[in-house]
């Protein structure tokens, strides 16, 4: 954690903050798709709240990326909106797991379990970043993430250990998405540089804890941890599934049609 930061460029920090923002905004958007369509109104409110938490995290990361960009370019007009609304699919670097379609409620629950438990451990690492802004964002986001974990564990147990139909749907969902979980724990060159400089969270360190916690919940829910070997990766390089383009089209439409529009 004490090695020099000479090898790290300002652009690295911008790219890293932006990809963390991408993860948050994309999963937030997916959750927001449940609003008005959740199984009942209490869940509608609750899942909307979680979506808003993720948008809050995205704003913190994007605002930081914008701030560093302005400093780097001597400008003052780059904002969080540039990152959220004015970049295309190839520029988004979120993990693929986040962008997969909304699916049914079991699918959303299974994905959320993997993502929330991941975030819990990831943010614990990021709290130790020697970049003060990233560390502060991690502290704030971690509180909400603890609640997200509680919710996704609760739903996993409820559906897994529910009826035979809900159990089957949960198992199918886990089997469908498991292959997308591997890239969560991989570092590319950018993140390796930032880890060496003590700035980025080292996601390779949290895989064992993540797997242990997720396995315990899945087994308690009378489900089985998928043992498929297949893995899909590419999100951090901007190679996406067919789902992201549709999501961005919907999310960016207003801003691109009416540039500068305000509420």
């Amino acid at each position: 954690m004490t090695s020099s930061t000479e090898t790290v460029s300002t652009q690295d920090i911008i790219d890293y903050a932006a990809r963390l923002g991408d993860d948050a905004i994309v999963i937030g958007h997916r959750l927001s798709e449940w609003v008005s369509k959740a199984p009942f109104i209490e869940e509608d409110v609750a899942i909307g709240n979680v979506a808003l938490d993720f948008f809050g995290h995205a704003r913190m990361y994007y605002t930081y990326a914008a701030e560093v960009s302005n400093k780097q370019n001597g400008t003052d007009d780059i904002t969080e909106d540039n990152f959220a609304y004015l970049r295309d699919e190839r520029q988004f670097q979120n993990h693929l797991l986040h962008e997969l379609h909304k699916g049914d409620f079991a699918y959303t629950t299974a994905r959320q379990l993997l993502v929330d438990v991941y975030n819990k451990h990831f943010l614990e690492q990021l709290k130790n970043s020697n970049d003060e802004t990233l560390a502060a964002i991690a502290v704030k986001a971690a509180k909400e993430t603890r609640y997200h974990c509680r919710r996704s564990k609760d739903w996993t147990l409820r559906l897994g250990d529910g009826t035979s139909e809900s159990n089957e749907k949960m198992q199918l969902a886990l089997n469908d998405i498991w292959g997308y979980s591997h890239e969560l724990f991989e570092l590319d060159d950018l993140e390796q540089r930032l880890v060496d400089a003590g700035i980025a969270a080292d996601c390779t360190l949290i895989k064992a804890d993540w797997l242990k916690e997720v396995t315990a919940i899945i087994e308690e829910a009378t489900l089985t941890v998928p043992d498929q070997e297949w893995a899909v990766r590419g999100g951090r390089q901007g190679y996406h599934t067919e789902h992201l383009g549709h999501l961005l089209t919907e999310m960016q439409f207003i801003h691109r049609s009416f540039p500068g529009a305000k509420w």
Binding site: F40, I41, E42, E43, V45, A46, N49, D154
Partner: protein
């Protein structure tokens, strides 16, 4: 999931330490643990509370409209139950 299978819960919030829990509203949930989480999401978004109670609505035994004659009317003609009924002797001063 159908709403008919869910139970109705009453939600009570305490806004500050030292104050009483006050009835905030009701919601549907599968069980009390879920009711507590939904109460948090539905009723405490703007720091309205430091403590939440949830109670199954069915577990509340409530007085009925029909009971009001026998329950509440008898106190109407007992003004001496109110402190204002009594003259306070001058010696007592301000209370």
């Amino acid at each position: 999931m159908s709403l008919e299978k869910l139970e109705l819960f009453e939600v009570f919030l305490r806004s500050k330490r030292g104050l009483d829990h006050k009835h905030a509203g009701s919601l549907h949930a599968e069980d009390k643990e879920q009711a507590l989480e939904y109460a948090r999401d539905v009723y405490t978004r703007r720091s309205e509370g430091v403590s939440i109670w949830v109670v199954k609505s069915n577990d509340i035994c409530a007085s009925q409209e029909d009971d009001s004659d026998s329950f509440f009317d008898p106190s109407d003609d007992k003004p001496y139950r109110h402190a204002t009924y009594y003259d306070i002797p001058k010696e007592v001063g301000t209370m």
